[in-house]
């Protein structure tokens, strides 16, 4: 018998002809939990995946004017209450197994959306700060990256700062970058993470990667807030 990894309800799969064809092999979520996730469908900004009626959203136009450094972000779900709770349970409560909720969709997004260059992409996780690692014990970005059938390189490092608060204020002023590079990457990079919010994190990482010779930076995220 199968139970939903998220709500522990029994997974019932009514086998009618219409569902029979679409039932996925390893369903980990029950119908009710699956139903609360909203896939981004329809028109979206081709750069950041935000639901948008024309081709590039205002935000991304601004990034472009400033000289954008990412090729494209692809997000799978709208950031709604359910996915927020799911990510909280997974990341902040530390329920590592819950990454399984995203495995199928993450894999298929990778295969479909990056079909042209999937073979040449190196997957780059966003590193976790030392204190977060102490709390959680795992890096959610790496946990996602490991579900893809692609080479992973952990070339980004988070600069260690003793005083986070002070540093952040300075950082904002100086537009300092929280990341550094441990080893230059010469292939195209795919950054994988849970949520794309303002896009700043991805671009800070991209800035470092490109500065050290990375030709193209893409990003794949679970949710677009």
């Amino acid at each position: 018998m199968n139970f939903c990894v998220y709500c522990h309800e029994r997974i019932e799969q009514p086998l009618t002809w219409s569902t029979w064809l679409t039932v996925k092999k390893n369903n980990v979520l029950c119908i009710s939990c699956t139903g609360k996730l909203e896939m981004i469908s329809g028109k979206r900004c081709k750069v950041c995946s935000r639901a948008w009626s024309s081709s590039i959203c205002l935000d991304c136009q601004q990034w472009r004017e400033l000289g954008d450094n990412i090729e494209r972000n692809y997000s799978i779900f709208h950031y709604n209450e359910t996915i927020c709770e799911m990510i909280t349970q997974w990341k902040f409560r530390g329920d590592y197994l819950l990454r399984e909720m995203f495995r199928n969709e993450l894999k298929s997004a990778f295969e479909k959306q990056f079909a042209n260059n999937a073979a040449s992409l190196t997957v780059i996780p966003i590193p976790l700060s030392e204190s977060r690692m102490q709390e959680r014990g795992f890096n959610q970005s790496l946990a996602l990256a490991e579900m893809l059938d692609a080479p992973i390189k952990q070339v980004l490092r988070r600069k260690s700062g003793e005083k986070q608060a002070k540093k952040n204020r300075k950082a904002r002023l100086k537009r300092d970058n929280p990341f550094s590079i441990t080893e230059p990457l010469k292939q195209a990079a795919l950054i994988v993470d849970d949520i794309y919010t303002t896009g700043t994190t991805v671009r800070q990482a991209a800035q470092q990667l490109k500065f050290h010779g990375c030709p193209e930076v893409y990003s794949l995220t679970i949710a677009r807030s």
Binding site: D95, G137, L142
Partner: protein
């Protein structure tokens, strides 16, 4: 001055907040230095949080041994795979990576209250009899005593003498229930009854967090933080709760009670093994077969409706239900309608609304609401119903216990469904006739084939009424 500093200054406060607990480092809100001093002086002792021996794994905090509720993660700190417990993860993750800490410092001496009871009400004869038995169990330090009381017997008042006896002896007391509603409802009453005693109610999202009072009210999960803490442990509503939660409660109770302690069980539907122990004379017990208002329990009517299951699945209501709705003895009573599953309740809401409108049970569709466990507006809807702003409520088994309304009729659709076990049906029937002004209320179970649970539930109610008549 923050709490941490305050605790630092006072070894007594430190002991009060840490003794009798088993905590993760992140739950011990002390400055790092202080924490390390307590460790090096062996006032705090680390113990493994997960026991992993010869292929059998156990979470020390919640007692989980089921493989299903364990998982693994690759630890970025020690570069090893660790097991972690998913059963109690909302209390902070228990894993092989981090130990639990138990207090080994000074013992706490709780105050001996000479006259703690500030309640001035009177117990009914049935209540006093049970209250005296529970009090005796505390005074004589019996390991356990069970109070088998019908729904609506007025359980909290019956506890007052036992709690008073414990407080007089300077004992520490906890009252635990798997139901957060029960804790919320009991807290103000106990606060009223014991005004000079420190009391806290602990549940997810409660304003109390410290848990360092002499009298603690806690949900099962919150009880898990305690270890050999209580002299008297009262467990409310011990009955057929979903099995894994039930197991957790029993484990948490055993862990939280001191080795020499008294556990009082309060229930309307004792589990099988308790009934066996009572029969064998191994578990002291007392019956309260009458409600506080002195009336007998409404006995459920069983109504056979052919093809009920398939009808409901097709969003059709049985004729028998319509007939009953039109012929209720007292149409003024509010209606509680129980269904087996959330999905069914949501699906049936529309047709039930229509039927209630047709039969004149409600005059506008807004007078009916559906409520279920994960419902965000659950509390608001229950409140509306209580204020009679709603006339009818359709619900799952979440409302089966703890929550009381003065004057309702109760209908169960598909009473033969597996979620309606014996205990659930007794509890559901127990929602009716709660008020002295309207002690009868109708209870009707619609089914398409009597189950064991239906028969046994009805029998249990009849048995209790037999006992009640003799009083």
């Amino acid at each position: 001055m923050n709490m941490d500093k305050l605790i630092l200054c006072s070894p007594r406060l430190l002991a009060e907040s840490l003794s009798g607990k088993r905590l993760l480092e992140e739950e011990i809100s002390l400055p790092e230095k202080c924490f390390h001093v307590l460790l090096s002086t062996k006032q705090l002792i680390p113990i493994p949080a997960i026991e992993n021996q010869k292929g059998s794994v156990k979470c020390i905090r919640c007692g989980n041994t089921s493989k299903y509720y364990f998982s693994e993660y690759p630890c970025g700190i020690c570069q090893q795979k660790h097991l972690y417990c998913r059963n109690c993860i909302q209390m902070g993750r228990i894993s092989e990576c981090k130990p639990l800490y138990i207090w080994n410092g000074a013992e706490v001496h709780w105050p001996k209250h000479s006259n703690p009871l500030t309640w001035e009400g009177k117990l009914t004869p049935a209540q006093s009899n049970a209250a005296a038995q529970l009090e005796k169990a505390v005074i004589e330090k019996l390991p356990a005593c069970l109070c088998w009381a019908v729904c609506g017997a007025g359980k909290s008042e019956m506890l007052f003498p036992a709690i008073t006896a414990a407080l007089k002896q300077g004992k520490r007391i906890a009252l635990a229930s798997p139901r957060v509603d029960v804790i919320r409802e009991l807290f103000p009453r106990l606060e009223q009854a014991f005004q000079d005693v420190t009391i806290e109610a602990l549940y997810g999202g409660s304003e109390h967090k410290a848990g360092k009072s002499q009298l603690i009210l806690a949900t099962t999960h919150q009880l898990m933080r305690y270890y050999q803490a209580f002299d008297v442990l009262i467990i409310d509503e011990v009955d057929a709760f979903p099995f894994y939660l039930d197991k957790s409660l029993m484990y948490a109770a055993k862990q939280a009670a001191k080795k020499q302690s008294t556990t009082l069980y309060l229930t309307a539907t004792p589990r099988k093994n308790f009934r066996l122990q009572m029969k064998l004379g191994k578990l002291p017990h007392v019956f309260v077969p009458l409600r506080y208002h002195g009336h007998l329990l409404p006995v459920p009517k069983l109504k056979l409706a052919f093809h009920l299951t398939s009808q409901l699945a097709n969003k059709k209501l049985p004729n028998a239900f319509q007939k009953w709705l039109m012929n209720r003895q007292n149409p003024q009573r509010q209606l509680l309608i129980f269904g087996p599953k959330i999905s069914m309740i949501k699906e049936l809401k529309e047709v039930i609304t229509l039927l209630l409108l047709q039969t004149g049970a409600i005059s506008a569709s807004e007078e009916l609401q559906a409520v279920y466990a994960a419902d965000k507006d659950r509390e608001a809807k229950i409140k509306q119903f209580r204020n009679r702003e709603l006339h009818a409520l359709i619900t799952t088994t979440i409302l089966e216990r703890g929550v009381t309304f003065p004057s309702v009729d109760v209908a169960v659709l598909a009473a033969g469904h597996e979620v309606f076990n014996e205990a659930a049906l007794v509890q559901i029937a127990g929602r009716a006739g709660r008020s002295a002004d309207d002690p009868s209320g109708e209870v009707i179970f619609f089914h398409d084939g009597k189950t064991d649970a239906i028969e046994k539930a009805r029998q249990m109610i009849l048995d209790m009424n037999e006992r009640g008549k003799k009083l």
